[in-house]
C-alpha cells in the first residue's frame, strides 16, 4: 500500500459512522432510533461533564442547570411565532423571532457560556466539596428562575410545541464535534494545565499555571457542550418542564460519567451508551407486563434503584470505571485489527482490553 493510512483513517471512520447512521435512520425501528438518539445526546452531555468533573477535578453537580438553559433558550428561539403568542408572554423584540435549529442552538450555547464564565469567576476559586455544593446551588437557582420566569418558560407547566428537529444526524453530528473538541482541548496546553491542576494544584501553580484560568476554560467549554446537549434534548422531547432538568437527570449523568471513567472521553461515550441502554431496559420492565412468560406488576422507581445499586457496586469494586483515564486510540484499533486479521503470531498477547495512552501520562 502506498497511501498513508494515518491520513485516511479519520475520514474513513467518519464515513463509516455516517453509513451506520444512514442505515439506522432508514432501516431500524422508530423505537431503536429514539434510543440511539438518547445515547448520542447523553454522550454529548457526559463528555462535556467530564471536561469539568473528570479532567479538571471540579466536581460539579450543577451542569444540568446549563443543560436547562440550553434547552429553554434554544426552544424559545425555535418555537413558531404563533405558539409564542398563545403560550408565552415574551417582550416585543423576542416575540416575532423564529430561528432555525442551528442558530438557536449556538445562541443558547453562547449565552450559557457567558453565564458559566460569570458564575465560574467566584465558583472556580473554591475547591473540593465547596465547589460541589455551590454548583448544586446553581442548579437550584436555575430551577427557581425557570419556575418563576413564567412569561418566558411557562413556569412549572409544560413547555410544549417545540419543533422536533433533533434526529440521529443532528445528535451524532454534535457528538462527533463534542468528542473532537474535547480531545483537542485536552491535548492542548490548556488541557495539560487542567490536568496538572487536578493532580496537584499547588505544584501547577508554582510552575506558573493559572488555576482559575484553566478551570474557567474547562468549565466554559463544558457549559457550551452541555447547553448543546440540552438544546438537542429539548428538540427531541418537544415538550418538557423544569422537572426534567433537576436532580434525577444530574444523577443519571453522574452515573454515566463515573461508570465510564472520570478522565476518559472514550469512557464517557461507553458509560453513556451502556447506562442509557440498561436504564431503558429497566424502564420498560418497570411499566409491568409479561417478560419471559412472567407477569410483572408495574414497579415505578425500580429502574432508578437498579441504577443506583449498580453505581454503588462500581464505586466499591471498580472506582476508576470502565476506562479509568485511558483512551481508545488508533494504535489500539490497529493492534486489535491486526491481531484478529493476521494468523496469530507466537507470543502475541491479546489482553482483550484496550491499552491506550494514559491522558495524565501515568
Amino acid at each position: 500500500m502506498t497511501v498513508d493510512p494515518k491520513k485516511w483513517r479519520r475520514p474513513l471512520a467518519l464515513l463509516a459512522l455516517a453509513g451506520l447512521v444512514f442505515l439506522a435512520q432508514n432501516y431500524a425501528g422508530a423505537y431503536y432510533v429514539r434510543v440511539l438518539i438518547i445515547v448520542a445526546i447523553n454522550a454529548v452531555l457526559v463528555v462535556a461533564l467530564n471536561l469539568s468533573n473528570g479532567f479538571t477535578g471540579v466536581f460539579s453537580l450543577g451542569h444540568v442547570g446549563f443543560m436547562a438553559m440550553g434547552a429553554y433558550i434554544s426552544s424559545i428561539l425555535t418555537l413558531p411565532v404563533a405558539m409564542k403568542a398563545t403560550n408565552l408572554n415574551l417582550p416585543h423584540w423576542l416575540a416575532g423571532v423564529q430561528l432555525g435549529f442551528l442558530p438557536a442552538t449556538l445562541i443558547a450555547a453562547v449565552i450559557t457560556v457567558i453565564v458559566a464564565v460569570i458564575i465560574g469567576w467566584p465558583l472556580m476559586r473554591l475547591s473540593g466539596h465547596y465547589v460541589t455544593v455551590a454548583t448544586l446551588g446553581f442548579l437550584v437557582i436555575v430551577r427557581v428562575v425557570l419556575i418563576n420566569a413564567d412569561s418566558y418558560t411557562r413556569g412549572a407547566r409544560t413547555f410544549s410545541g417545540v419543533p422536533p428537529y433533533t434526529n440521529l444526524w443532528w445528535a451524532v453530528g454534535w457528538l462527533v464535534l463534542t468528542i473532537y473538541a474535547a480531545n483537542r482541548l485536552i491535548r492542548s496546553p490548556y488541557g495539560r494545565a487542567m490536568i496538572a491542576v487536578r493532580e496537584d494544584p499547588l505544584g501547577a501553580q508554582s510552575v506558573g499555571v493559572s488555576i482559575l484560568g484553566s478551570r474557567q476554560w474547562a468549565f466554559g467549554t463544558s457549559a457550551f457542550f452541555t447547553a448543546i446537549g440540552g438544546a438537542l434534548y429539548a428538540h427531541f422531547l418537544s415538550s418538557f418542564s423544569p422537572a426534567a432538568f433537576y436532580f434525577s437527570m444530574t444523577f443519571n449523568l453522574i452515573i454515566m460519567l463515573v461508570v465510564g471513567g472520570m478522565g476518559s472521553i472514550t469512557g464517557s461515550v461507553l458509560g453513556a451508551a451502556g447506562i442509557t441502554l440498561i436504564s431503558e431496559f429497566f424502564r420498560n420492565l418497570e411499566r409491568g407486563g409479561v417478560v419471559l412468560g412472567v407477569r410483572i406488576p408495574p414497579l415505578y422507581g425500580m429502574s432508578q434503584i437498579v441504577m443506583a445499586v449498580l453505581f454503588m457496586i462500581i464505586i466499591v469494586y471498580r472506582p476508576i470505571g470502565i476506562m479509568g483515564q485511558k483512551e481508545l486510540s488508533w494504535s489500539d484499533v490497529s493492534r486489535w485489527l491486526s491481531a484478529r486479521l493476521r494468523p496469530p503470531a507466537a507470543g502475541t498477547a491479546d489482553t482483550g482490553r484496550p491499552v491506550g495512552r494514559g491522558v495524565s501520562g501515568d
Binding site: 466536581f59 458564575i119 467566584p122 465558583l123 472556580m124 476559586r125 473554591l126 475547591s127 473540593g128 466539596h129 465547596y130 460541589t132 455544593v133 455551590a134 448544586l136 446551588g137 446553581f138 437550584v140 437557582i141 427557581v144 428562575v145 419556575i147 418563576n148 494544584p201 488555576i211 482559575l212 436532580f247 434525577s248 444523577f251 453522574i254 463515573v258 414497579l299 415505578y300 422507581g301 425500580m302 432508578q304 434503584i305 441504577m307 443506583a308 445499586v309 453505581f311 454503588m312 464505586i315 466499591v316 472506582p319
Partner: protein, 299 residues
C-alpha cells in the same frame, strides 16, 4: 395590621423556628463531615424515612410519644446501617467516592419509598395541638414554632454536654480534629463514627418530624431541599464546626425569613435562589465560614 416593631418580632419567631430546624439538620452533616470529610446527601432522606416510620406507627395506633421516640430511634439506626453499608468500605478512598455513594444511597432510599409506598405526598398525622395558633399579646404564632425552638434548644444543650463531657463525645471531637492522631492515641474510629452517625441521624429524625408538622405533609423527596439548605447553613457557619453549624442554621433562618418579609412580593418567590446566592457570596468572602478554621480551601 402589626406595627413595624411587632412585625419584626413576629418574623423573629418565625426565623428562630426555621433556623432551629436548619440547625438540627446541619449538626448531623457537620459531625459526619468533620470526621470523614463526607457531604452526606442521604442525610435528608433519614428525615424522610423517619417521617414514614412515624406515619405507619401512628396509623397502627401507637401512642404519639412512643411513635415519635421509635421514629427517632429508627432514624438513628438507619444512619448507623447507612454508614456500615455505604461508607465504611470507602473510607480512605478519594473523597469524591463517598460523596457519590451518598448520592446513590439517597436515590435508592427515595425510590424504595416510591416503590413500596407511593410518590404522592401524604398529610402528616401530627396531633392537632401541635399546630394550633398561639396568641402572645399582639403576636400570633403556632405551637409548633414554640416547640421547635424549645426542642432545638434542649437538644443542643444535650448535645453540648454529650460532646464535651462524655468520653465518646470527646473522642469524636478529637477524630474530627485529626483522624490519624486520634487513631494513634487509641481512639476506636469505628465506634466514634457510628456514634456520630447515630446522633446526627437522630437529630435529623427530630428535624424531619418538626419539618413535616410545620409543612403539614411529607413525601419521598421531602429531604432534598432542607438538607441542601442545611449544607448552606453549615458552610456559612464553617463546615465541620458544630457551633458553626448551629450558628449557620439560625443565620440562614433569619436571612431567609427577613428576605421574604422585606423584599417586594414579586421577588419573594425567589427565596430558594436567594439562599444559594448567599452561599456563593459567603464562600467568596469567607470561604471557611464564620467560625471555620483557616485551612486553605480557597484557591
Amino acid at each position: 395590621m402589626l406595627s413595624t416593631g411587632n412585625y419584626i418580632l413576629q418574623q423573629t419567631i418565625n426565623a428562630l423556628s426555621l433556623g432551629s430546624v436548619y440547625a438540627l439538620v446541619a449538626i448531623g452533616l457537620a459531625m459526619v463531615f468533620g470526621i470523614l470529610q463526607l457531604i452526606n446527601f442521604a442525610h435528608g432522606d433519614l428525615m424522610m424515612l423517619s417521617c414514614y416510620v412515624f406515619f405507619f406507627l401512628a396509623a397502627a395506633g401507637v401512642p404519639f410519644v412512643a411513635a415519635l421516640l421509635l421514629a427517632v430511634l429508627a432514624g438513628a439506626l438507619m444512619g448507623v446501617v447507612m454508614e456500615r453499608v455505604a461508607y465504611r468500605r470507602l473510607r480512605g478512598r478519594a473523597s469524591v467516592s463517598m460523596l457519590l455513594s451518598s448520592l446513590a444511597v439517597s436515590i435508592i432510599l427515595q425510590n424504595l419509598v416510591i416503590l413500596v409506598e407511593s410518590p404522592q405526598a401524604r398529610s402528616f398525622p401530627a396531633p392537632d395541638y401541635l399546630s394550633t395558633p398561639l396568641r402572645l399579646g399582639v403576636l400570633t404564632t403556632s405551637t409548633i414554632d414554640v416547640i421547635t425552638v424549645a426542642a432545638a434548644v434542649a437538644l443542643l444543650i444535650g448535645l453540648t454536654l454529650l460532646v464535651t463531657r462524655t468520653r465518646v463525645g470527646i473522642a469524636m471531637r478529637a477524630a474530627a480534629d485529626d483522624l490519624m492522631a486520634a487513631n494513634l492515641v487509641g481512639i476506636n474510629l469505628n465506634s466514634v463514627i457510628v456514634f456520630a452517625f447515630a446522633v446526627g441521624s437522630a437529630l435529623a429524625a427530630v428535624a424531619g418530624f418538626l419539618w413535616a408538622t410545620r409543612v403539614g405533609k411529607f413525601d419521598p423527596m421531602m429531604g432534598f431541599l432542607p438538607v441542601l439548605k442545611a449544607f448552606v447553613a453549615a458552610v456559612i457557619g464553617g463546615f465541620g464546626s458544630l457551633p458553626g453549624a448551629v450558628l449557620g442554621g439560625y443565620v440562614l433562618g433569619f436571612l431567609e425569613i427577613f428576605l421574604i418579609g422585606f423584599l417586594p412580593p414579586g421577588l419573594s418567590t425567589f427565596r430558594d435562589a436567594l439562599v444559594f446566592f448567599i452561599l456563593i457570596v459567603v464562600l467568596l468572602i469567607r470561604p471557611n465560614g464564620i467560625l471555620g478554621s483557616t485551612e486553605g480551601e480557597k484557591v
